[in-house]
């Protein structure tokens, strides 16, 4: 700080040279306030002393809140989740998407986040499908049809970036409504709209369209990039979706990834049904056959549809010849963790530890020591079922990625309970 202060009276020429690259022409000491916000990484403790924020604890607290809200929501409705989703992603590429408030522009930032979202979505929902729609020049245009391959969507989107004209909410909804009406009744219909514009330019009454979507049980969610708009809020309220406005790029990422795990199923939205599926076997190596998806002769490992014996290259897919849904058992298993979530771990109060022998010295999962260098215990958590202790990092890993409690898995009797 004192360094910056001293530099101010130095002659102006030198200063100008330094600041040439910066278009806003800030003094160096101003930059320290505008960009770095160093005071935000400090907090006051009980006795009024300043100390750096414990980032790890903060991060962990944030994650706990997320976990708790999730588990309370699922406990209320006895875990029913829409595992088979048909989702249309509507991306606003009107003039407003060219705004530069997010660097380099809203459009580029959105495209980047959409790409991450699509990959995450298919990772979590292997049986679901996505379609892309863009709004441009007042009309909605279907970029890709519903499909299960992340690469083709991302490629189509990256090739079509460029913004112009007005945005039209009604046109987008009409198009999506028409497309989603064709899908089977057991699927969950969803729309996520990434809306940059502050207005909508519609050919008719948008309210009627909203009612139509409501009737067809399409869950519409909107993520705004500029400010809250009444019509979007109304749309989400009516159809049971989420409405949120992104503050910055990191917030936008959080908001959009929130839509990746399957939402709690709303009882009458999708009708339970049995779906006929095939489990194709991998063809033997070294066999030449003509595949039905690319229509060319291929050599070696493909999958054979059990009903019509046609060859397909990738799973999951729909057989081109007989229309049977083809999956492999790992695809189904990938979704099971949504149905059997790990119970949240309990916090262990650090004061509760005088009886050292009761508490193990290291984390059950990763063997990391649970004692600080000064032999002071660090914060840790415990599983309510198997009573094992875990460090905070393992806690996050177990709930976000592994979906298994190592303690419960290494106990024989917990098996019979499951």
């Amino acid at each position: 700080m004192s360094n910056n202060g001293k530099r101010k009276p130095v002659n102006e020429e030198e200063d100008d040279d330094e600041e040439d690259g910066n278009e806003r022409d800030l003094e160096a000491w101003e930059k320290a306030y505008a960009d770095e916000r160093s005071w935000e990484s400090l907090q006051e403790d009980e006795s009024g002393l300043l100390r750096p924020i414990d980032n790890q604890a903060l991060h962990h607290a944030q994650y706990r809140r997320r976990l708790r809200s999730l588990s309370s929501a699922s406990a209320a409705s006895r875990i029913q989740k829409g595992l088979i989703r048909y989702l249309y992603l509507v991306i606003d590429l009107s003039k407003a998407a060219g705004e530069m408030d997010l660097r380099p522009s809203r459009m580029v930032v959105v495209a980047k986040q959409v790409e991450a979202f699509i990959r995450e979505f298919f990772d979590q929902n292997p049986l679901s499908q996505i379609g892309l729609v863009v709004i441009k020049d007042g009309v909605a245009q279907c970029l890709t049809d519903l499909g299960g391959s992340p690469e083709s969507h991302i490629k189509a989107l990256m090739g079509k970036l460029g913004c112009s004209g007005e945005a039209s909410l009604q046109n987008a909804l009409e198009l999506v409504h028409e497309q989603l009406n064709q899908i089977p009744s057991y699927g969950h219909r969803e729309v996520i709209i990434l809306y940059s514009a502050l207005s909508t330019c519609d050919p008719g009454d948008v309210m009627e369209t909203i009612q139509k979507c409501k009737k067809s049980k399409i869950r519409c969610s909107v993520i705004g990039l500029s400010a809250e708009i009444y019509i979007c809020k109304y749309l989400c309220q009516e159809t049971g979706g989420l409405y949120s406005v992104a503050l910055d790029e990191a917030h936008l990422k959080d908001l959009i990834l929130e839509h990746a795990p399957p939402p709690p199923a709303i009882a009458e939205f999708a009708i339970a049904n049995l779906i006929k599926m095939g489990f194709p076997q991998r063809a033997a190596e070294g066999v030449i056959s003509i595949c039905s998806c690319h229509k060319e002769a291929k050599f070696g490992g493909g999958y054979i549809c059990p009903r019509c014996k046609a060859r397909v290259c990738e799973l999951p897919t729909e057989c081109r010849i007989c229309g049977l849904t083809l999956v492999s058992s790992p695809h189904l298993a990938r979704s099971y963790h949504h149905l059997f979530p790990v119970t949240p771990f309990d916090d262990v109060a650090p004061m509760l530890v005088p009886n050292q022998h009761r508490r193990p010295k290291s984390c059950f999962g990763c063997q990391q020591s649970l004692l600080n260098p000064g032999n002071m215990p660090v914060r840790c958590v415990t599983c309510p079922k198997c009573k094992q202790f875990f460090c905070l990092d393992c806690d996050i890993y177990i709930h976000e990625s592994l979906h298994n409690c190592p303690g419960c898995e290494s106990l024989r009797d917990s098996k019979s309970v499951n």
Binding site: R78, Q80, L83, I84, L127, Y186, G187, A265, A267, E268, A270, I271, A272, N273, L274, I275, K276, M277, G278, F279, P280, Q281, R282, A284, P306, R307, L324, S328, S329, P330, L332, A333, R334, S335, Y336, H337, L339, F340, G365, C366, Q367, Q368, D393, C394, Y397, I398, S401, L402, H403, N404, C405, P406, E409, S410, L411, R412, D413, K415, S416, N418
Partner: protein
């Protein structure tokens, strides 16, 4: 990261192709040879028991080369503890070890290695497994496999038992590891050093045993038959071989909108 199966039921049965002590001595020389290959190599040994799992050797904290005594001491403690747990349990073992538990522990440890080091480690897991698959662990093992896949950790497997392990076949296939069932278990050390000792980079230059076909077919929940074509419940993804009126897992009735009746049914079933 080596997981050893210490299932006493398997090792004492006649199905075991070689004695446990012989097996241990071969694995130990393998562990030592990995540590000697590069001074940055680290080995972690986890024992997979019938009733529990535990770390038995860590090259970071323990002696630099594992001697037979230290490992054996830990292992004996573990086996005794494992047996004690068995006595409390009135149900005697079905004969499958807790692979899911040791896999989860291994993955937790690997996450810690990722967090701590800037060394860009290439961790991998080697499962030495003898006993049968426990069908109750299916979901947990699949979860571990997908988690390993996401963090790019290959799971190698070496099956010593008489049967192939469908779980480990899938694990190695999905994560890009090597699945091997030695034809002559007496020469285990030879198999281990030729196939599993090399690092991931040089592995691509080796002519490794060709993977046998992996069976990806599912088994139905009603008869446990393996099926080609079946019906999937759209709510809970249970697999059935015939058309049912009602899902036996989640209780939703098919072909009509879910009503409150089915919801209350389900609640009765839950406890």
């Amino acid at each position: 990261m080596v997981l050893i199966d210490t299932n006493p039921l398997f090792w004492s049965s006649t199905a075991a192709p070689l004695s446990f002590s012989k097996f241990l001595s071969q694995v130990l020389s393998f562990v030592n040879s990995i540590l000697l290959l590069n001074q940055l190599n680290q080995v972690m040994v986890i024992a997979t028991g019938l009733n529990s799992c535990d770390y038995i050797y860590d090259s970071l904290s323990g002696p630099t080369t594992p001697t037979f005594e230290t490992l054996l001491q830990k292992l004996e403690d573990f086996v005794v503890k494992d047996e004690e747990l068995n006595k409390d349990d009135s149900v005697d073992g079905i004969g499958s070890s807790l692979l899911s538990g040791s896999l989860s522990m291994a993955l937790c440890y690997i996450q810690r290695v990722f967090r701590s080091g800037s060394l860009h480690p290439h961790p991998r897991i080697l499962c030495m497994h003898g006993s049968q698959d426990g069908s109750g662990q299916y979901v947990a093992i699949m979860n571990s496999i997908f988690s390993a896949q996401r963090s790019m950790v290959p799971i190698d497997s070496c099956v010593i038992g008489s049967q192939h392990s469908a779980f480990l076949q899938q694990a190695s296939y999905i994560t890009g590891g090597v699945y091997l069932k030695p034809q002559q278990p007496d020469g285990l050390f030879q198999y281990l050093t030729t196939v599993f000792a090399t690092d991931l980079h040089s592995r691509s230059y080796l002519h490794l045993p060709k993977p046998v076909g992996v069976d990806f077919r599912a088994s139905c929940f009603c008869h446990k038959n393996t099926i080609d074509m079946g019906y999937i419940c759209s709510v809970c993804l249970s697999i059935f071989c015939k058309h049912h009126k009602k899902c036996s897992t989640c209780g939703s009735a098919f072909g009509q909108p879910q009503t409150n009746v089915s919801m209350s049914d389900q609640k009765k079933k839950a406890p």
